[in-house]
C-alpha cells in the first residue's frame, strides 16, 4: 500500500472519528466557551490560509499564476454582488480558463 493510500485512509477515518466524537462526547466538553471559540475560529484562519497557499505556494517557494488570480478576483466580484456559491465558482474557473485560452 502506497503512502498516499495510507494518508487517504487516515484522513477519511479521522474525519469520521471527529464526527462520531461530536455526537458521543458529553455536551459539557464541547460546550466549553473557550473550546467553542477556538472551534469557531479554526475554519476561518485555515480557509484564509488555504486561499493564500492555493494562490502563492509553489512548493516551498512563491509562485503565482496571474490567470488564477484574475479568476479569483472575478469570483470576489461575484461575492460582492451577492451571487450564489455556484456562480462564484463558475465565474472563477471560467475567467481563468478564458485567459489561459487567449494568453
Amino acid at each position: 500500500m502506497t503512502a498516499l493510500w495510507v494518508a487517504v485512509i487516515i484522513a477519511a477515518v479521522g474525519s469520521y472519528a471527529l464526527k462520531l466524537a461530536g455526537v458521543s462526547l458529553p455536551e459539557s466538553v464541547l460546550n466549553h466557551p473557550t473550546v467553542q471559540r477556538i472551534a469557531h475560529y479554526l475554519p476561518i484562519a485555515m480557509l484564509a490560509a488555504l486561499v493564500i497557499t492555493e494562490l502563492f505556494d509553489g512548493g516551498q517557494r512563491y509562485a503565482v499564476d496571474w490567470r488564477v488570480l484574475a479568476g479569483l478576483a472575478a469570483g470576489v466580484l461575484m461575492l460582492i454582488l451577492k451571487r450564489g456559491l455556484l456562480v462564484v465558482f463558475l465565474v472563477a474557473i471560467g475567467v481563468t480558463a478564458l485567459l489561459r485560452l487567449v494568453g
Binding site: A3, L4, V6, A7, I10, A11, V13, G14, S15, Y16, L18, K19, L20, G22, V23, S24, E27, L30, N31, P33, T34, I38, A39, H40, Y41, L42, P43, I44, A45, M46, L47, A48, A49, L50, V51, T53, F56, D57, G58, G59, Q60, R61, R67, V68, G71, L72, G75, V76, L79, L85, L86, F89, L90, A92, I93, G94, T96, A97, L98, R100
Partner: protein
C-alpha cells in the same frame, strides 16, 4: 436530552404534512445541486493533484466533508509528502464535531444510531436541521439533506474524477476552483455577524493568511495551513472582551 431516537435513519413521522416535506425536499435538492457541481470540481481537482480515482472516491465516501477534501487535494498538489495533507484536512473537520452538539440535541440518536448519524453531520445538514421548528421536521430535514447531498456528492465526485483524468484540468481553469471554494466558504463569516465579533473574525482571517504567506518559503508543504490553526487557538484563548453585553460594544483589536 430529549426523546431518544434509535429508529431507522430515513424514518420520518407520518405526522409530517406533505407541504412541509415538499418544502424541505426542495431546499435539499437545491443544496444537492451545489453539491453535485462542487463534487465534480473536487473530483477533477483531486485527480489533478495526484490522487487516483479510487482514492478520490474513498475521500468522498468516507471523509465526506467538502472543505477538508479540497484541503487534502490542495496540500497534496503543493508538496511531496502525502502525510502533510492529513492535519490540514482533519483540523478543518473539527467543526463537524461541534455540529454534533445541536444535532444530538435535536435528533437524540442513541447507539447504534449514532454510528450512522455521525457520518452525515456536516455544515448543510446541521444548518437545515437547526432551521426547522419541530422535532419531526428537524429529523426529516437532517436526513433528507444528508442523503440527497451524499448521493449527489458521490455522483459529482466520480464524474469529475473520471473527466479530470481524461482532460487537462488547467485548460478548464480548475486550478482556480479550490481557492474560489475556500474564499466562498470564508466570505459569509467575514461579512455577517455582530460588529464586535466581526472585528476579531476578520483579524483571525488576516492573521491566518499572513502567517501562511510568510511560512510558504520556509515551512514544508501543508504546514502553513496547519500553522494558521495556531492563530485560531490563540484567538480562542484570548479573553472574549465584553461579548455577552450590547451588540455594539467596541472590540479592542
Amino acid at each position: 436530552m430529549t426523546q431518544p431516537h434509535a429508529g431507522p435513519p430515513a424514518g420520518s413521522g407520518p405526522e409530517l404534512p406533505a407541504a412541509v416535506r415538499r418544502d424541505i425536499l426542495r431546499s435539499a435538492a437545491g443544496l444537492g445541486l451545489y453539491a453535485g457541481a462542487f463534487g465534480a470540481s473536487y473530483g477533477a481537482v483531486a485527480v489533478a493533484s495526484g490522487l487516483s480515482v479510487p482514492q478520490a472516491m474513498v475521500l468522498s465516501l468516507v471523509l465526506f466533508s467538502g472543505a477538508s477534501q479540497f484541503a487534502f487535494a490542495g496540500v497534496l498538489a503543493a508538496g511531496a509528502n502525502p502525510f502533510a495533507a492529513i492535519p490540514a484536512a482533519l483540523l478543518l473537520g473539527v467543526r463537524n464535531a461541534f455540529y454534533g452538539v445541536p444535532v444530538t440535541e435535536l435528533l437524540g440518536p442513541r447507539w447504534p444510531a449514532r454510528l450512522w448519524t455521525a457520518h452525515f453531520v456536516i455544515d448543510e445538514t446541521t444548518a437545515m436541521a437547526v432551521g426547522r421548528p419541530t422535532r419531526p421536521e428537524q429529523r426529516y430535514a437532517f436526513w433528507a439533506t444528508g442523503l440527497v447531498l451524499f448521493t449527489l456528492w458521490q455522483a459529482g465526485s466520480l464524474t469529475g474524477a473520471l473527466l479530470g483524468s481524461s482532460v487537462d484540468p488547467a485548460a478548464f481553469g480548475l486550478d482556480a476552483a479550490a481557492p474560489a471554494v475556500f474564499l466562498a466558504l470564508l466570505w459569509p463569516a467575514l461579512r455577517r455577524g455582530r460588529r464586535d465579533r466581526l472585528v476579531r473574525v476578520r483579524l483571525v482571517a488576516f492573521a491566518g493568511a499572513a502567517l501562511a504567506l510568510l511560512l510558504i518559503p520556509v515551512a514544508p508543504a501543508g504546514m502553513p495551513v496547519v500553522a494558521a490553526a495556531g492563530i485560531a487557538v490563540v484567538a480562542g484563548l484570548a479573553p472574549p472582551g465584553r461579548e455577552p453585553r450590547g451588540a455594539d460594544a467596541e472590540e479592542p483589536a
